[in-house]
């Protein structure tokens, strides 16, 4: 057992820090500081993606042949830590983390050749069309229908919670191609090479934080080519489940959480406590902070074990454990942050939050983001398989031993 701390790693850390200190534009930095969601402001996020891609660092977790970096476990964690320390906007996960790895494993050569390079370079953004109004946690009950017609499918129905669909130029989705068997059967995985097919309509949904992050997407006799199918017709459920494999051992969410806590502590150092002195020196703040920090540390440990191939990641419930722990920590961190902001966080400041608006926030830049982050993070226990579904899955892994 050991944890490496070599001079080479420190040199790597310095190289990464140096790049992060110089490469991003002011707008990208501003977007990073104003990120109040898993999903950073779109334009600056893609601009930054392109800069990282030129450096070769856009997809550290991809196989080297496809543009990955081939870094060691330590390097990947150092990269993630420095990334967050610099408050840079996280790249969007749909293309790089979901459809990209899926295509690498299951795509045809043509699909790979067409779609992977622009994903890596940050030229394309793919929306994920899974959920539907009637099927939230019960994803397999989806009803959006695709009927084969010549070389095409004709799609009718709708998708909801399609993050950033209004920014996307492509979309991957699950459609129902057969109703006869079990609900998990008869689902097909489709790639849409454009998102402006006749008959498609995208309606942004404003969230509690005031931002249109989610969308509803309507399909009215939308004709798309069958060549966009991944895997066999009616086998889309196992294609979608394959994606889960990539949630095993790949994540480095803890540096984001650590950074939230650091920012909270920093702000608490400048915020008077109602009991006198500054909040950061208040024993109660320190206890709450310490409890949360230690729990974040446990997630970091878990991620490091997983990323280095420890058997913990072979547990079929691992993705569910990871998702549940991470999502609930984000929520708890955001609550601590709003407590530091107090009444100052009660202002609704959509304009001040817009990158480039140059509007002075009420209070500090920290106070500007805490409430939107809190409100947005209520979603983390709902999306990507609600935590209720995740706990069902975790408990099933115990039932079978």
């Amino acid at each position: 057992m050991n944890v490496e701390f070599s001079p080479e790693l420190e040199a790597f850390r310095a190289e990464v820090a140096e790049f992060f200190a110089t490469a991003p534009t002011p707008a990208i930095r501003e977007a990073g500081r104003k990120t109040t969601s898993v999903f950073a402001p779109f334009d600056q996020c893609m601009e930054w993606h392109q800069i990282l891609a030129k450096k070769g660092w856009a997809a550290p977790h991809w196989p080297v042949d496809y543009g990955g970096t081939g870094w060691s476990v330590e390097q990947r964690f150092i990269f993630a830590e420095e990334y967050r320390k610099a408050d840079l906007p996280p790249l969007l996960p749909q293309s790089l983390g979901m459809v990209g790895p899926l295509l690498i494993d299951l795509g045809t050569e043509e699909q790979k050749a067409t779609y992977l390079p622009p994903i890596l370079q940050g030229l394309d953004f793919w929306a994920q069309g899974y959920s539907e109004p009637g099927s939230g946690s019960d994803l397999a009950s989806l009803q959006c229908r695709a009927e084969a017609d010549g070389d095409d499918y004709i799609i009718n129905g709708s998708k909801i919670w399609t993050t950033y669909a209004h920014h996307a130029n492509r979309m991957f989705m699950l459609v129902r191609t057969d109703n006869s068997g079990k609900k998990q059967q008869g689902i097909t995985f489709l790639l849409l090479d454009r998102i402006d097919y006749p008959g498609m309509e995208i309606r942004p949904i404003v969230g509690l934080d005031g931002f249109p992050e989610q969308c509803e997407v309507f399909f009215d006799n939308v004709r798309v080519p069958q060549s966009g199918r991944v895997g066999e017709e009616n086998d889309g459920w196992s294609v979608a489940k394959h994606l889960l494999k990539h949630e095993r051992g790949g994540s480095a969410a803890s540096p984001t959480l650590v950074r939230y806590l650091e920012r909270a502590k920093e702000a608490a150092g400048k915020t008077p406590s109602p009991f006198g002195g500054m909040m950061a020196d208040d024993p109660v703040f320190q206890r709450d902070f310490g409890e949360l920090y230690a729990d974040v540390a446990s997630l970091a440990h878990m991620e490091k074990l997983a990323i280095s191939g420890h058997s913990i990641a072979n547990d079929p419930a691992f993705p569910s454990l990871n998702k549940t722990i991470n999502s609930e920590l984000i929520q708890r961190a955001s609550i601590l942050m709003t407590q530091v902001s107090g009444v100052t966080g009660l202002a609704r400041q959509l304009e001040a939050l817009r990158v480039g608006s140059n509007v002075e926030p009420q209070g500090s830049e920290f106070d500007l983001i805490t409430m939107p982050l809190y409100l947005n993070s209520r979603a983390t226990s709902i999306y990507a398989g609600s935590n209720e579904v995740q706990r069902d899955l975790i408990s099933r892994s115990l039932a079978t031993g």
Binding site: G276, T344, L346, A347
Partner: protein, 368 residues
Amino acid sequence: MDFAFSQEQDMLRESVAKLLERNYDFDTRQELVASDAPWSADVWSEFAELGLTMLPFSEEQGGLGGSIADLVAFAQSLGEHLVIEPYVASTLLAGGALAASGTPTALQWIGKLSSGEVTLAFAYEEGAGTASPEQIAMAADPSEEGAELSGEKRLVIAGSVADALVVVARRSDTGKLGFYLVEAGAAGLQISPYQTIDGRSAATIHFNQVVVQQEAVLLEDARDALEAVLAEAIIVQSAEALGAMKALLTITSEYAMTRKQFGQPIGMFQVVAHRLADMKIAYTKALSTLTYTTALANSGAATLRDIAILKGQIGKLGHEIGEAAIQTHGGVGLTDELNVGHYHKRLIALDASLGDHAFHLRKVGQSG
């Protein structure tokens, strides 16, 4: 012990409820919030016509001599309808300070406030530290005319549109907290208006040597009066919060019985059912503590600790109920279109103002 509302109180409650059912459905409210108006002038006049803006003042001061129980009787409706009119801020906080003052200037403003002619703002909060009045830093420097105010106030509800501000400031020579009246447009005021997350009109206000004439110095040693005014506002605001909690409990239970997943209403899933049970447990605690504390206050027996317990419990339980309501609704609970998130934001905002639950519960622990 008697915890029931009187017949008169029930009637008052019904009048307000009817008024709001007529004028204040959720869509109308959302249009109002999205408009340029800080609130509905029509609704505000109807409040005045019903006597609400006159209610808490004593008969000697031209009011109706309403009790705290009278206020609690109808305030729940304000929460149920997510009302954005500044009743607590203008009538109870600023108005309460005027009533405690009783100077000729104060009486004059009480008259205009009672008739609905003006609204006032209460400039009290200064940030995270000022959950406790001890930490108020806004300075009132004695001057020849009376006093000069310097400092910053945050979350001044109706601060940019009120006809005057009642400011809580600390005399720089004596260290005593006082109430000072500043009319809108006074020199040295720098007002930065905004809307709160729960749709109310608010402002951050900088005071740069704002001159207060002697007749506008409402009360020079206002510490006890401040505590009484805050206590009353906290009780009424808690009733408003309880209205929002009740709405969330009802809406969420109904949703859980109709929304289907995996072939059955989600309320049939035991985890969802138990979350609903926890919401009801929280609501029951909140209802009990509000009711009991109201009765105590009505008997003149509510201590600072009782008020801290109320404020702490309502804030904490409100958070729990709001978060449970959103989780139960799933994605749709996170949309601006549904009322659920707006109730939650109201509960959060009420919790954060006048000291959040963490502050008050710790106060309870200090004092016990």
